[in-house]
């Protein structure tokens, strides 16, 4: 169905697997609207992120900042790519830093972002803990803003986030994991043992794969969105850089005025193994982290709730 089935891949073997998984998510959630979807994201001047999927989308909103002082070059290149690929008509180009655009709701020239979107793809080339003025987690706030703006439109969407392990703010991550420990302890689960394992793990991937889904879940819940997290993907990108990829399906949940606790259980986030992609093959990866042991009676209770939710 998609053009990449026929053409040689634009991506490395590993990245192509990630793309396929993301595409599966799109088809799974929006099967009846394929061809009419709206895309928002960082698709690069070559529009790699979106070209293969272009037939799925009726509109593509691309954000491009360009190199400082010569912003026009990358932005012009993006227009050229779109024109050559016959998708210029679908394209809306927002010019500026994606985080600033998401936070302000408009680009450097005052063009507004037209939420809602069906697919929001934040394919960052750096880490998530980027700080502009040493205080603000601008990127995280931007992710939060995108979720809130989407929620305001009361529309479901898929949120894809890619990042590397640059400049992880260990303090922020540690405090968040401490909060998780408190929460787990409150329920009498093995929070101490589990969180310690995460905190002392030598691979920062362990902590990020917990932190990011937890962050998105909390923000989504606060914005009245139910969040379904797909398994986190880790792979080795260009020049040996370790990349993490997160996929979330967010759907409106406005049954009550007061925000609900995240519907997704912590155990689902913690216990789901990573997908490790090596040489284009998917492997389950636990990083030797302990699982969250949910007492039997609680599990049963959860099952009852799940059955009730499913109408069983």
């Amino acid at each position: 169905m998609l053009s990449h089935d026929k053409k040689p891949s634009r991506f490395t073997k590993n990245k192509q697997v990630v793309r396929d998984l993301q595409c599966q998510n799109i088809v799974q959630h929006f099967n009846d609207r394929l061809g009419n979807l709206r895309y928002f994201g960082l698709c690069s001047p070559e529009m790699k992120d979106v070209l293969d999927w272009a037939p799925l989308f009726a509109s593509i909103t691309a954000v491009e900042r360009g190199v400082s002082g010569e912003e026009y070059r990358d932005q012009h290149q993006l227009l050229l790519t779109a024109a050559r690929e016959r998708i210029l008509g679908k394209l809306t180009l927002l010019r500026g830093d994606i985080d600033a655009v998401l936070l302000s709701g408009q680009d450097d020239f005052g063009k507004p972002i037209a939420f809602p979107y069906d697919v929001i793809s934040l394919d960052y080339s750096g880490g998530l803990f980027y700080k502009e003025n040493k205080e603000e987690f601008k990127r995280l706030k931007a992710i939060q803003a995108s979720i809130e703006r989407q929620a305001a439109c009361n529309f479901p969407c898929l949120l894809f986030i890619s990042c590397n392990l640059d400049a992880i703010d260990e303090g922020e991550v540690k405090h968040t994991i401490e909060n998780i420990r408190t929460e787990l302890d409150r329920y009498g689960w093995n929070g101490q043992e589990l969180c310690n394992a995460y905190l002392v793990h030598r691979n920062p991937v362990a902590r990020l794969r917990l932190y990011v889904p937890y962050f998105v879940n909390q923000v989504a819940a606060k914005a009245h969105l139910a969040c379904e997290s797909e398994r986190t993907i880790s792979y080795c990108g260009n020049q040996g850089v370790e990349i993490l990829n997160f996929r979330f399906y967010l759907k409106p949940d406005t049954r009550t005025m007061a925000p609900r606790f995240p519907q997704e259980r912590l155990s689902q986030i913690i216990n789901a193994p990573l997908i490790r992609i090596e040489n284009g093959r998917q492997l389950d990866e636990t990083l030797n982290l302990p699982k969250l042991r949910v007492p039997d009676n609680i599990r049963t209770g959860y099952k009852k709730v799940r059955r009730r939710e499913k109408g069983g």
């Binding site: 026009y72 024109a83 050559r84 008509g89 020239f109």
Partner: protein, 516 residues
């Protein structure tokens, strides 16, 4: 001595530094000054696209001609084509002013000032192009905002330096078979933001650029076929504005198209100067939508002026008839040069010749319009006469036609009959009679006959007329008085026949009621 030294110094300086002949302020004159309507600036770039596509078609027969795409979206306007593309030489010349090696007979643009006009509307112009067969692409960047800033801040610096400092050409690798040009007019200036009005731009483009006829127009394919057949090197290409296809405008309620070839002279072997197609309003008079009416000049299928231009130039008499039609006059004389803003032609011998020769188009159209108008009027008169005769005939049969109205009715029918007979004679006397004429002659004869029969019947059967003084018992004095009143009424209301009839009818009824 000092003066001599100083003079020598100055002379030396002149010898080492070339004199400057052109200064920065000319930029303003060549951009904003030349195009008061900023949409013309955009048209200049579209002209380049068409020239590139035309060259592609000429040099690569069978090449796939893709639509030109225009994307209008703040803060920029992009124009993309997959024409032949520009070589390095052309891209470097892109920065020159008034330099063009384009052959005027083969291209729409030829002055070499069109591209620089972009600085009138955008703060920056970025052009990327790759020529078919050249494995490279070139990018020209013109920093218009900085150029104008410098002209203002440095009291009119030399133009060469400005162009050198604020324009740039870069090259990069590209696939050999790639061929395209993308022009991006970045950051449209505040005073020209009207260009963002997509509806307005759509309207402008459909009236001015060589887009195909709207397929919804019933004669689109026929006209297209005739143009391809009769206009050498006729070229049209689809254009999309923000994903919407742009077509030439048309007016729905029209008759079948007609064609007029105009030659350079009356000699049989003289070449074709112009080829005109037109359609006539199927209804009476002018088309409702004035902006889409009249004949529009086209050079290389680009419009020059609008319907008003040909109306002014070609219609010496009855100019209102110009808008009974819409169509195009494709001009094929290479010496005809449109003005920079393409609202008229340069005043030269070719223009005078074109006006002189093309006046025959207006004459023919005027004649047609006059004939059509006369036919319509004749038809109306026939219907009216027929109605009058029929009504009076019925009244006479029913005995309701008042004797007091006899003279008026006779006068009205005779007058109508005279009018019919005179129009009938004119139509019968025409050298070339069309189907409508034949139909009118048949109908005219029949109506005239009916009118004559009625007049004879009225004379013969005057006893059938209704006379209230005989219908009711009335004294002689009463009769005299009634006749006097009728006579006064006829005198006073002789110009208002309908009112007279109404009053007489009421009077008659009242008299009848009173006396019976």
């Amino acid at each position: 001595m000092k003066i001599m030294l100083r003079r020598n110094k100055l002379q030396k300086r002149h010898q080492t530094q070339p004199e400057t002949f052109v200064y920065g302020s000319v930029l303003d004159a060549l951009s904003t000054g030349l195009y008061p309507d900023k949409r013309h600036v955009l048209r200049e770039f579209i002209q380049n696209s068409y020239d590139a596509l035309r060259e592609l078609r000429r040099t690569h027969r069978g090449a796939n001609i893709r639509p030109i795409e225009i994307r209008v979206e703040k803060p920029s306007i992009s124009i993309y084509d997959e024409g032949i593309g520009m070589s390095e030489k052309l891209m470097r010349q892109y920065r020159y002013i008034g330099f063009s090696e384009k052959d005027v007979s083969e291209n729409v643009g030829f002055r070499g000032i069109g591209t620089i006009s972009g600085i009138a509307v955008a703060k920056q112009i970025v052009v990327t192009s790759s020529r078919l067969g050249v494995p490279k692409r070139y990018q020209v960047v013109i920093d218009a905002a900085s150029m104008f800033d410098k002209v203002q801040n440095e009291r009119n610096p030399p133009l060469d330096g400005l162009l050198d400092q604020f324009t740039d050409v870069k090259e990069d690798r590209e696939e050999k078979d790639a061929h395209y040009t993308l022009v991006e007019l970045r950051e449209i200036r505040e005073d020209t933001e009207a260009l963002y009005n997509v509806d307005d731009l759509h309207d402008y483009l459909q009236r001015n650029v060589p887009v195909p006829m709207d397929p919804a127009f019933q004669y689109a394919s026929e006209i297209g076929e005739q143009l391809r057949l009769n206009v050498p090197d006729f070229f049209e290409c689809e254009l999309q504005l923000n994903r919407n296809k742009v077509y030439k405008p048309f007016q729905g309620n029209c008759l079948r198209p007609q064609y007029i070839p105009v030659f350079f002279s009356d000699k049989s072997d003289s070449g074709l100067l112009a080829y005109c197609w037109y359609v006539k309003n199927a209804e009476k008079g002018q088309f409702e939508e004035r902006s889409r009416s009249g004949l529009v000049y086209r050079v290389k299928n680009f419009a020059v002026g609008d319907g008003d231009l040909s109306r002014k130039d070609l219609w010496e008499r009855t100019p209102e008839r110009a808008f009974y039609f819409f169509g195009e006059v494709h001009l094929l004389d290479g010496s005809l040069k449109p003005s920079s803003d393409r609202t008229n032609f340069e005043d030269n011998v070719a223009r005078s010749r074109m006006y002189e020769r093309c006046k025959r188009i207006a004459q023919q159209l005027s004649r047609e319009a006059g004939q059509e108008s006369a036919q319509r009027l004749f038809d109306q008169r026939l219907s009216l006469t027929e109605q009058i005769v029929q009504r009076r005939q019925e009244e006479l049969q029913q005995g309701t036609l008042d004797v007091a109205l006899k003279a008026d009715v006779q006068f009205a029918v005779r007058k109508a009959l005279e009018d019919v007979e005179s129009r009938l004679k004119r139509t019968q006397g025409k050298r070339q009679k069309d189907a409508k004429d034949q139909q009118l002659i048949r109908k005219g004869k029949s109506v005239a006959k009916k009118a004559q029969v009625f007049l004879a019947t009225l004379e013969r059967e005057a006893g059938r007329l209704y006379d209230v003084t005989k219908a009711v018992p009335m004294s002689e004095e009463g009769k005299r008085l009634y006749n006097l009143v009728v006579e006064v009424l006829r005198e006073e209301l002789r110009t208002e026949q309908a009112l007279l009839e109404k009053v007489l009818h009421r009077l008659r009824e009242r008299v009848r009621d009173a006396f019976s």
